[in-house]
Amino acid sequence: MSLCDLTAHELHKLFSSGEASATEIAEAHLERIEAIEQEVRAYVTVTRDRLLEAAAAADKARQSGEVIGPLTGIPMAIKDNIVTQGVKTTCASRILENFIPPYNATVVDRLYNAGGCLVGKANMDEFAMGSSCEHSHFGPTHNPWDTGRVPGGSSGGSAAAVAAGEAVFALGSDTGGSIRQPASFCGVVGMKPTYGRVSRYGLVAFASSLDQIGPFTRDITDCALVLNAICGHDPRDTTSASEPVPDFTESLVPDICGMRLGVPREYFEEGLSKGVREAVNSAIELLAEMGATVEECSLPHTRYALSTYYLIAPAEASSNLARYDGVRYGYRASGARDFVDMYKKTRYEGFGPEVRRRIMLGTYALSAGYYDAYYLKALKVRTLICKDFDNAFDKFDALVTPTAPTVAFSLGEKAADPLSMYLSDICTIPVNLAGLPALSVTCGFNEGMPVGLQLIGPHFAEGTLLRLGYALEQSTDFHRRRPPLTKTQEWDRNMEEAPDNAV
C-alpha cells in the first residue's frame, strides 16, 4: 500500500491526524515517479526541490497548529500551459522550451494558497492542440493502463500522472475535450467547469472563447475539493463569472431520486465502439435504478459541432499564437535576413506540424473574403448548438453521453490522420461551444481500458454533475481500480481500512 494511491481526502485524514507527514507523502510520490515515470512520461518538468520545500512548509504549518485545508500538503501536477512563476512553462513546444514565467496563473496562486504542493508540469499536446498527447515537443505520454496506448489529449500528462499515482490531483485545460477525453482514457475523474467559472488568467490561450481550466482527480470528492479551491471571479479575467461559488462538497449526497436525465441520440451514432456503448448503457441503467428518470432526446445540430469547432478554435488560435515571434521571449531562429524572415524561420522551426496546421486553418478562416463564409457562419452555428442545449435543459437536469467514442487507442494509430484524430473529440466539443460544465467519470472497462461517461449540465450546474457522479461512484468500484503498472508491490485496497493501513 502506497501513499500515492490514495485520494486527497484520504491523505488529508492521515496528514491532519499526524499519521503521515506531507514530506512522507511527497517522498512517496517522488519514489513513484522514480519507479515508473520513464514508462509513463507524464511530466515535462518535475519540481522535486519545490515539492519537498512545500511539503516541509505544510508539515511546519500543521505542527504549529495552523488551520489545515483539505489540500494542504497534497502533491499536484499542473498542465504545462498554465503559468508557474519561476518554473518553466513550455506548452510542450520548442518555441517556449526555456520560458520561465515571472508570474503565476490565478489558479496556481489559489492552489498554492490552499496548500497544494507542486510536483511538476504535466506533458500535453503542443499548445493543447491534439487528442493523444503525441504532439508534444518532448515526446508522447503513455497511458498507465497500457503503455502502448495514448493517454488522450491534450491534457494527457495530467491524466496519466493522476492515474499512475505521480500526483494526487492535476489541473488540465479543456478547449474541445482536453480534460474529459484523457480522463476517460486514463480512468480518472475529469471536470470541465462552466466557461467563466475558473479564471483563465495565466492559462496560455489556445482558443479563448472555449478554453477552461479544470481538475483531474481519483474520485468525485477530490473533484469537489479542487473546484472549491479554483473556482470564482477573478478581476484579471473579464470573462470570469461573478456567479457565486457554492461549497461543492455539499453536492456529495448519494441521492439522485427524481433527477431528469436526457440521453441525446446523436452521441450514440456511428463511430461509437461496442464496448463503450455497453459500458455507457449499463451506467445509464444504473442511474435509472437509483431513481433518475431517463429519456432519449435530440440535439439536432450536433453533427455541425466538429466543423464549427475547427473554424472557431483555429481562428482564435491563429491570433493567440501570433505573439510567439522570437522578439521578446522564447525560441528565436538564427540566420534571418530581416525581421520578416526571422518571424518565418522562428515560427516554422518553433511550432510543430499540428500547431502550424491549425494556425494556417485559422488564418484562412479569418481572411478577407472568407470571414463571412467560415468564421461568421461558424459563430451562427455555434448559437444553434447552444439553443439545442438550452432546449434540452428545459426538460432535463443533465445529459448523459459517452466521453469519447472509443477507449484509448494505440500510440501512432491516428497520428498520421488528423481527421480521425479530430473525431475522437466528437462527444466533448459541443460542450465547449456552448460553454457548459461537463464531467467525465469512469463507468466501466473495455479491452482492459477504462471507459468514461460524460455528464453535461446547464451553466453553473457543476454541483448537479458532482451529485450524479458521486451516486455512480457509490455503487461501482471503477474509481478504486489502479493501473497494473502501479502495482509494484502487492496491495489490496480497501477504502474503509486505508487510513489504518497506510503508514
Partner: protein, 478 residues
Amino acid sequence: MRYEMVVGLEVHIELSTESKMFCDCSAKFGGEANTHVCPVCLGMPGVLPVPNKKAIDYAMRASLALNCQIAPFTKFDRKNYHYPDMPKDYQISQYDKPIGSNGYVVIRTDKGDRRIGIRRLHMEEDTGKSLHEGVAAGSLLDFNRAGVPLIEIVSEPDIRTAEEARLYLQKIRTIMLYTGVSDVKMEEGSMRCDANISLRPEGSSEFGTLVEIKNMNSFRSVQRALEYEAARQQSVLESGGRIVRETRHWDEGRGVTFSSRSKEEAHDYRYFPDPDLVPLEINQEWVDEVRRALPELPDQRFRRYVEEYNLPAYDARVLVEDLALAGFFDEAVAAGANPKAASNWIMVDLQGLLKGEGKSISEVKIKPSHLTQLIDLIEKATISGKIAKDVLVEVCFTGKDPESVVKEKGLVQITDESALIKAAEEVLAANPGPVEDYRKGKKNAIGFLVGQLMKATRGKANPGLANDILRKLLDGSV
C-alpha cells in the same frame, strides 16, 4: 480644368489616463526604456486584458464633445499583424462598432463656418517604439508606450483645402484640450495624423482615387503635404496619367511625398471580436453621467465671449483657442475685471510679453486677480495706462500684486492740480520755442509740451489733466 481636393483625416490621440488601456502600468510619457511594462503589456503567454474604465469614460467624453452618438453596445476587436513593436502581434482596437459615430465639428474659414463630419471615434491601444539609431546591430524596442490608450478620430471626406485641414486639426486639438482627455502634444506623439486625399474636377460629385499620406509631424506639415500632394496629383491628371491608390510618406526636409510601397502594406488585418473581452454595454445613465461632467467647450465659450461680453470675434477666437489664456481671462472677469479691458490687456500686452519671453501664461507669475486689480487701478485713475504696462511687466516677473508695485515704485498718478501746475510752469519756461509756436496758432505744439510734462513727472501725470493744465496756462486762463 480646375480641381478640388477631397480630404479625410485620421487623427490618433493618446488619452492622458494614469494607467494603460488594459493593465495597471503607468501611461506616462517617457521614462527609462521598458520600465512601464508588465506581463500584460508585454504580451506574455497566458495574460489577459482588463479594460481601463477611465479610458472608456474619456473616449465617451471625446465622442460627446465631437457631437458623436455613443454606441449602446460596443466591443473590442483584434487587428492582426506582425510587427516587432507590437507585443501580442495583434492590436486591440474597435472595428465595426466604434464607441462614437456620426459627429461633427465646425471650423471658421474665410468663407464662413464649415461643418466637418466625424465618421467614427474608436478606442485602441498604442504600440511600442523601435529604436534603430545608434544601435550597432539590429534594433532595440521600448514598450513603455505599448498599451497606452488611444482614440482614433476619422473625419468624413468633407475637407476641401489644406487650410481647412489645418483648421480642423486645430479644432480637434482645442476640443481635446478642453475635455481634458489628452495633452495633445504632436511633438510627444500624443496627437498624430494621417490624411486621405483625392482630387476631382470642381463641381463633380464623384470621388477620385485615394492616396494616403503618413508621417506628418505638425499641423503645418499636414498643410504642406496636402498642398504638395494636390499639386502632384493635378500634374499627373493633367498629363493624362492616372493616380495610383497607395500610401505615401511625407518628407518634411525635402517637402515632398514619396511612395512607400512595401510588402507589409498588402495587409489583411483579419479583424475579429476579441474573445478575451466581454462586449461593452453603455446605458443612457452612463452617457448622461459623462455628458454632465463635460466642461464648457470651445464653441460655447466663443459664443459666451461674443454674446455676453461683446468681445470682437477675432479676440474671442484667439482667447478660446488657448485654453490657459481663456481660463486666465475668465478668472480675471470673475474677479471683477471689465471683460473688454481684460481681453485687450491679454490680447495685446500679456500676449506680447509672453511671445517675447517665449513662455506660456503658466510660466509667468501674474495671476488673474492681478489683472483685475491692474484694470481697477487704471479705472480709478490711480495709474495711467502707460504706467500700467510697466506694472504688468513687473507683476509678471515678480508675482507681486499691482498695488504693491505701484506703491513701492511711487507710480501713483499725480492728480493733484497744484503739484502739476508747478511742473507745467517749469516745462513752459524751459521750452520757449514750442510755447511761441502754440501762441502763434500752431495748436498741436501742445503735444510736445504734454510729452515734456509727462517726462518731467516720470509718466505719473494724469495725461488728461496735464493737457488741461498746459492749455489753461498757455491760454492765460489760470
